[in-house]
Structure formats: C-alpha cells, structure tokens
C-alpha cells in the first residue's frame, strides 16, 4: 500500500508537442483507484509518463509515501504502466509476456511459471498461455497487458486509457476486471481517461485536469453535483449557467430570487443546475417556461426552454417530453438541492 504524491510537477515542451503541466499537486491515496480525467491535451499522458519515469520533469517532485522517485530510472521505480495500446512483445507467447517483468527481476524459472499461471488464471486467459500476441483479440491483448503489469505487484499501477480501444461490451467487462483486481490487490492505481462517464463508473476518486492544472479532486459525485468552477461544471456536461449574486441564502438573478439548499459565499457568483435536475411541473423555485424545442435522444428527451428571457436546457424522461410541442407553456421547478453556485469570472481554468 503506497501513497503517490505529485508536488508542483511541471513539464514544458520546447515545441508545440503534447500538453504542458503547470505545477501539478496531487495526492493519490494509498490503495485508491483514482481517475486522472481531462480533455485531450490537458497533460494526462504527460503526467503518467512523468510518474513512470519515461520523461523528466522540469520542476517538482514525485514521491511514493515519503520517498522521492524523481531521479530513479523507470525500471527501479516500482511503478508499472499499461499503455493505451497493449504493446505486447510480438516474439513472446502470452505466458512469456506476462513473465517478462519477473524475468527482468531475475526470479527462478519455476517461481515465474507458477506466478504467471496464477495470474493468467485470474484474468481467465489460462487457455491462451501459449498463443502469440498476433493471435489475440483486442480485449484479450488488453487483459494480457494488465496481467503483465499486475503480476509484478507494483507499488503504483498506471493505466493509460485502458478502455478506449475496446467496444462497448468488452469495455464493461474490462472495467469490471480492473475494479475487481484493484480491490483484491489494493494496489494504488491511477487511470487516465478523457471520458467523464468512464471515470465516474470506474474510479473511487477523480482528479480533473484542465489546461495542465488540477481543477478539482474528489469523489465522482462531488465533481458531478458540486463542481469547483464553471470549467469543471462544463466538463461534466453542465450547460445551464446564470450570473447573479448570493444574498441571505438566496440567489438573485434574471429569474428572481431562488432558494438555495447549500451554503454559498455571499456576493457575486454563477448559478448552475444540471439539465436532468430541472423538473417539469410545480415545485419549489417554480417558474413559468416556454418550450422552444423538444429533441428525442433515445433514453432521454432534451427540452430547450425560455424562462423569463433566460435559455435553459432540461433533460427529462422520453415519456414526459412527448406531450410538449414548441410554443407551449409549462411550469418548471428548480429544486434547491440541485442548485450550486460557483465563483464567477475566475479565469484560472478555461475549460474547453
């Protein structure tokens, strides 16, 4: 069990290459499964490669518990990385691939074959032990790559977009396998992903990286419903933003004074409500709305509303949306528990 700490980690590329990092501070708690989430170009893979030791930081430190690994070569860090592409060694069998790291450690052959056999059984690949990588499907190759890293029992496991190359069914299976193995082994794991739904489904905690900076770090629900900034809210699919100011537990804006359930700092702010939290029908914070458009999306219907001159977007169950035609008027409710105020005009994180 190892805690991974990144302190003021910075990396700038000379030319316009991969994204740069501006002093990243992040603590990945011992035994946690943390998702490093961010749009492409936010510096996620750079962070991974810095932790793995494949590139050197310009500034900052990387620590396992209290020991700095900043100046160690990759092979002596105790950090195993699984790349986006499985990168199996083509000339070795599945068993040979899984045993690679153990051989590099100089373990005796009988111990290697025992550990490899146990690991292959765990990822349900025992039948394929003698296959060559070219004979594997994408999902199988990804499992071999995971087994090859896990068999080393690294202090920290890094997974770079482990699900992005898989189709939907395999993705669910692989996600389950990663969660199970991580729980069984308790290895501190950092997963890079650009997909917020994936991060929410997979990880205990999410560290959101925007423009090379840590925008928010916490449990998935917190980033989802209590974003730290407008950029975080937008990254998690937030579309409704109302400028105004907090006064005595209410939010004054173009819609009048709205009840808040959470304590918010007095003064100017930006109100956000998730589209799926807007209720059609009477309730607290009720307002009259005009339907501009209703778009059937399959599992949900998106309704574009105008409320006192303000455009809002709501997501409702398909049945509820069917009856609404453009131009009709409906009452809507903005539940106080779904209203959240973020600081206004903080330019630090730009979002997309």
């Amino acid at each position: 069990m190892t805690r991974l700490t990144l302190a003021g980690l910075a990396k700038t590329y000379a030319r316009s290459g991969p994204a740069t990092l501006h002093g990243l501070d992040l603590t990945v708690e011992s035994g946690s499964l943390t998702a490093l989430l961010g749009p492409s170009g936010s510096g996620k893979t750079t962070t991974m490669k810095l932790i793995a030791g494949l590139i050197a930081p310009d500034a900052g430190d990387i620590r396992l518990d209290d020991r700095s690994i900043r100046d160690l070569p990759p092979e002596r860090r105790g950090v195993a990385m699984v790349f986006q592409n499985p990168l199996l060694f083509p000339h070795l069998t599945v068993a040979g691939n899984v045993g690679f790291g153990l051989r590099m450690r100089g373990l005796p052959p009988d111990r290697i074959s025992a550990e490899v056999a146990a690991m292959l059984a765990r990822v349900r690949l025992s039948d394929l032990a003698d296959r060559r990588p070219a004979q594997l499907s994408g999902g199988q190759a990804q499992r071999v790559a995971l087994a090859r890293a896990l068999v080393l029992r690294p202090a920290v496991l890094l997974l770079d977009e482990p699900l992005s190359s898989l189709d939907a069914t395999l993705r669910d299976e692989m996600r389950g396998l990663i969660r199970d193995l991580q729980r069984e082994t308790g290895i501190t794991t950092l997963v890079v992903t650009h997909d917020q739904a994936e991060a929410v489904a997979l990880a205990d905690r999410i560290a959101l990286l925007l423009d090379g900076r840590l925008a928010q770090h916490g449990p998935p629900e917190a980033l989802y419903s209590r974003p730290a900034s407008e950029a975080v809210a937008r990254f998690f699919g937030g579309v409704n933003f109302l400028p105004g100011s907090v006064r005595e537990g209410r939010f004054d804006c173009a819609l009048g004074a709205l009840e808040l359930a959470f304590a918010a700092a007095e003064g100017p702010g930006l109100l956000t409500i998730r589209p799926e939290a807007i209720r059609l029908g009477p309730g607290p914070n009720q307002r009259g709305a005009e339907v501009r458009a209703a778009t059937f999306l399959g599992t949900q219907t998106r309704i574009d509303l105008t409320v006192q001159g303000v455009a809002l977007e709501a997501l409702v169950a398909p049945d509820a949306g069917r009856a609404l035609s453009p131009g009709s008027r409906v009452p809507i409710s903005l539940p106080p528990a779904a209203l959240w105020v973020v600081p206004r005009g903080r330019a630090a994180t730009g979002g997309e």
């Binding site: 030791g53 070569p73 092979e75 195993a80 592409n85 990168l87 000339h91 590099m104 450690r105 080393l152």
Partner: protein
C-alpha cells in the same frame, strides 16, 4: 494440379535464370581447350581447379580476404546504421530531410566520382593499400543501404515498446536486447545481406584504395579474365558466387519465412 504444375514451371524458369548463365562458367573451369564453334570443350582438365584451390596460388587467401572485408564492412555498417536508422525512423528532428539526402547521395553518385578525392585523402592518412582503408571505402556505398533499411524498420516499430519494457523493470540494455532486437532482427538480416553483397562485389573502390595490394576476388577475377585465362576465371567466378548463394539460403528463412515477425508488434 494446375497450381502445382504452374509452381513447378516457375521454379524451373527461376532455376534456369539463375543456373544457366553459370553453365558455361562451370564448363570453362574444367576445359583444357574450347574453341569456336565446338559446343563442348574438346578436352577436359582439373588444372584450373587445382590452381584455384592450391594455397600457393593465393585464390583461397583472396577468398578469405574478400569474406573478411565484407564481414567487417557489414559489422561496421550495422554498428553505425542501426543507431542512425533508429534516429531517422523513430524521431522527427530538424534537418532530417537533408540527413536522408546526404545518406542517399553515395548510393546515387557513381563511385568513380568519389574515388579520386578519397584516394588523395586516404593517401595522406596512410590508408591506401591497407585492408582497413578498403573496408572504410566500402562503407561509402554500404552505409546508405544499411541506414535506410533500418530507418524503414524502425519507422514501423512502436517507440513505446521499449518504454513498456522499461516500466516492467528492464534496464535500457535489456530492453533493447529482449524487445527491440527481436523485433528488428529480420530487417537487420536483410540489411546485412545487402551490405555484405555490396561490399563483396566492389571492384572500383577496392582497386583504387587497395592499389592492387588488397587482392579481393573481383580483382583477381578481372585480372585472370583479361589475361585470357578463361578456365581459372571460370573456377574463381564459381567460388565468387558461392558466399552470396550461401548467405541467401541461410537468411532466406529469416527474411521471408519468418516475415511475420517483421510485422507483428509493429505499427500497421
């Protein structure tokens, strides 16, 4: 059946192209006199072969020297060409186009354009008439082949493959040895085969830099042939093609049969 017959026909045609030109050479090497318009030599003799295989004649020594020069040239070319090909194939850098052009230049320019300047330079360095000088000169036409073939091989290799090996606990040397080398081996063998044969068949550079003191087989062959000794020239010619055929047979499996290894794990 038809496919079989077609394959047999193709095999025969190929064998014909390769072997038929050698028949007169073989006949010459055992002929005592063979004058127009006779279809076959009038008299047979093993004299040419006796001369060629006699240690005192220097033909065998020349065979050994030619082999040594070709092997040394190939080895040196690999030592330079593998890292150079890796840099060209894996990384993008400023001036890469110019480097590639400079590398290609010796393969495009005829040797004769280089030979006079090179001779002057080597003369000052005391390299003329030495085996080392000849090996260095042979590197001029050989290096482009080695480097460009290796650049093509490396350009299809995923640079993350070595990084992956490193994060699994391999030192840089072991990562190269255990992961990169097996992946590039078929390409390296192909490049080495080219390198060996290009060096093996050098005439002009060997003559100019070796100054007649480094007697490789092509030089020997030419001198016997121009002296009208068709029988000895025939015997030497057969010896001359032997290593090429041998190397080809030995590496054919690696180069073609295991061609799968060339594409596995490499980017499509």
């Amino acid at each position: 059946m038809r496919a079989d017959r077609l394959r047999l026909l193709a095999g025969l045609a190929l064998a014909g192209f390769l072997i038929l030109p050698l028949v007169p050479l073989a006949l010459w090497s055992v002929a005592q006199g063979w004058r127009f318009p006779a279809l076959l030599p009038q008299a047979w003799s093993g004299r040419a072969w006796a001369h060629a295989l006699d240690p005192a004649s220097g033909v065998l020594a020349s065979l050994a020297l030619t082999t040594l020069i070709a092997l040394a040239t190939t080895l040196l070319a690999a030592l330079v060409g593998v890292p150079a090909g890796r840099a060209l194939g894996l990384y993008r850098f400023r001036g890469k186009g110019i480097v590639t052009l400079l590398l290609l230049a010796p393969a495009v320019l005829p040797s004769i354009a280089v030979v006079f300047g090179l001779h002057g330079l080597f003369l000052r360095l005391g390299l003329t008439g030495t085996v080392a000088g000849v090996i260095l000169a042979h590197l001029i036409p050989v290096l482009p082949y080695m480097t460009l073939v290796m650049a093509a091989v490396f350009s299809r290799l995923d640079p993350d493959l070595e990084a992956q090996a490193r994060t699994l606990g391999a030192t840089p040397f072991r990562a190269f040895r255990a992961v990169t080398l097996p992946a590039i081996l078929p390409g390296l063998l192909t490049a080495s085969l080219f390198a060996f044969l290009v060096s093996w068949s050098q005439y002009l550079l060997t003559l100019a830099i070796g100054g007649g003191r480094v007697q490789t087989l092509p030089l020997l062959l030419f001198s016997f042939s121009s002296a009208g000794r068709n029988d000895i020239a025939g015997a030497i010619a057969l010896l001359y093609i032997l290593p090429g055929v041998l190397v080809l047979i030995l590496t054919a499996r690696q180069v073609t049969g295991r061609g799968a290894a060339l594409t596995q794990g490499l980017r499509p």
